[in-house]
């Protein structure tokens, strides 16, 4: 399942990049993210909860940075395991930053996601909509964060 979209943040590329590479900022913006820790500069661990109607899942996830080209591109892989309940998630992600017209930054993302195990039985159609809506919530949160940081100096 592939999702791709982009959004514009009203902050220059450099500042947006710093926010995106700061696990605490990303953790705070990611809907359902309960904790995040940096194991190394290129490896993070997080606990993420997702809910779809009555179905709730908690993943122990690892995000590994595979390639980066500051401040414009980062390639990551996310692997998630649902404690003991036999669902696995993998997502290959590419994030690119480019200057937008008005001095802001266009953030584009592409993710190729697979879910196997019990949650894999649930239709992909709606899962994709859910992933898209989580992504746009993330975008909104990130934008608010970056702008807040900007106005706070």
């Amino acid at each position: 399942m592939k999702i791709a979209d982009s959004f514009v943040v009203a902050a220059p590329v450099e500042r947006t990049w710093r926010a995106i590479r700061d696990p605490q900022v990303v953790g705070a913006c990611l809907p359902g993210c309960e904790e995040i820790e940096a194991v190394s500069p290129t490896l993070y661990r997080a606990r993420i909860g997702v809910k779809l109607g009555p179905i709730a899942a908690k993943f122990a996830a690892e995000v590994e940075v595979l390639e980066e080209e500051p401040p414009v591109r980062v390639v990551t892989v996310t692997r998630g395991e649902e404690g003991g309940r036999a669902s696995n998630l993998r997502s290959d992600n590419i994030l690119t930053l480019a200057p937008a017209d008005d001095g802001g930054t266009r953030v584009s993302y592409e993710a190729d996601m697979t879910v196997t195990g019990r949650l894999g039985k649930f239709g992909f159609g709606v899962m994709k909509k859910k992933a898209q809506s989580l992504a746009s919530e993330f975008a909104g949160n990130l934008e608010a964060r970056v702008n807040e940081a900007a106005s706070g100096g």
């Binding site: 109607g53 179905i55 036999a86 649930f122 159609g125 909509k129």
Partner: protein, 284 residues
């Protein structure tokens, strides 16, 4: 996991206040999800013994109240649903197959809020309201606000659906439910719930809700209101279908692609209105 079988709405609401508690109605969705290991509620609150939830009644003004535990088969045969309200009967009759209709309930279907389910568009087109009961008391929510997002409703934790309330439909209106599915009894690829009234070539009542084309039923009351009092020709119906299409956000799934749903739904609306006009003895 615990199992309780309260015998009143109050006792059911009290039992639902525990963390991880869930209502069990017909089980047609909940038990299937438990079997697939998708959910494991910590407490099942069976509504089977709550007699008040199993009743349906018609008030003198034509309002029909359907208890949450009324099964699809009963609703499909509900003679109290008249005129435009019949949209709900037709929807119920097209759900799944006889054994599932003998089990599944209107409360369970609406609480689960499957975007391809048949009741949500029918209830939105019927201008129905949901009567909810929770620890804080009772409240009613219009169907259009009850369905919120993919599998999300206005139900708060610890709240249950008590009944669905259909306002009287103007006499002489017709209600219809058209469902496109791969085979009879499958979930809809797209569906159209309609209530229509015409008088001497002028539209007197119009409600169209499209199902399975987005997270919640699509309805455009603004355009419907503008079309009241005038003829319903190609141009008018086109305005409505164009507006409805703006509200679509369909999925690609095993039943059909999003693109197919976008193409077929407006034609289904057009056809449903045409057929309803024929029933009313009106020409387009």
């Amino acid at each position: 996991m615990e199992f309780v079988r309260p015998d009143s709405i109050e006792a059911a609401v009290a039992a639902l206040q525990a963390e991880g508690a869930a209502c069990l109605a017909g089980g047609a969705t909940l038990v299937a999800m438990m079997n697939a290991d998708l959910v494991a509620p910590e407490r099942l609150v069976s509504l089977r013994d709550v007699a008040a939830l199993r009743e349906a009644s018609r008030r003198p003004d034509g309002t029909v109240v359907i208890g949450a535990m009324r099964r699809h088969r009963e609703t499909a045969e509900e003679t109290d649903l008249r005129d435009g309200q019949r949209v709900l009967r037709e929807a119920a009759a097209q759900i799944a197959n006889p054994p599932v209709r003998n089990m599944g309930t209107i409360g369970g279907s609406c609480a689960f809020a499957d975007p391809a389910a048949d009741y949500p568009p029918a209830l939105v087109a019927a201008d129905a309201r949901f009567a909810l009961a929770g620890a804080e008391g009772r409240r009613t929510v219009p169907a259009g606000d009850f369905f919120r997002d993919w599998y999300e409703t206005a139900l708060e934790p610890g709240e249950l659906i008590e009944s669905v309330i259909l306002p009287p439909a103007p006499a002489g209106t017709v209600g219809s439910y058209t469902k496109l599915a791969r085979v009879a009894g499958d979930f809809a690829i797209a569906s159209v719930a309609l209530a229509l009234g015409m008088d001497g070539g002028a539209c007197t009542h119009l409600a169209v809700a499209v199902g399975a084309c987005g997270p919640v039923p699509a309805r455009r009351r603004d355009i419907e209101a503008e079309l009241l009092g005038g003829p319903l020709g190609n141009a008018e119906i086109g305005r409505l279908t164009d507006a409805l299409a703006e509200a679509f956000d369909p999925v690609d799934d095993v039943r059909a692609s999003a693109g197919y749903r976008r193409r077929v739904a407006p034609r289904m609306v057009r056809q449903a209105i045409g057929e309803a006009m024929q029933k009313l003895g009106e020409t387009q």
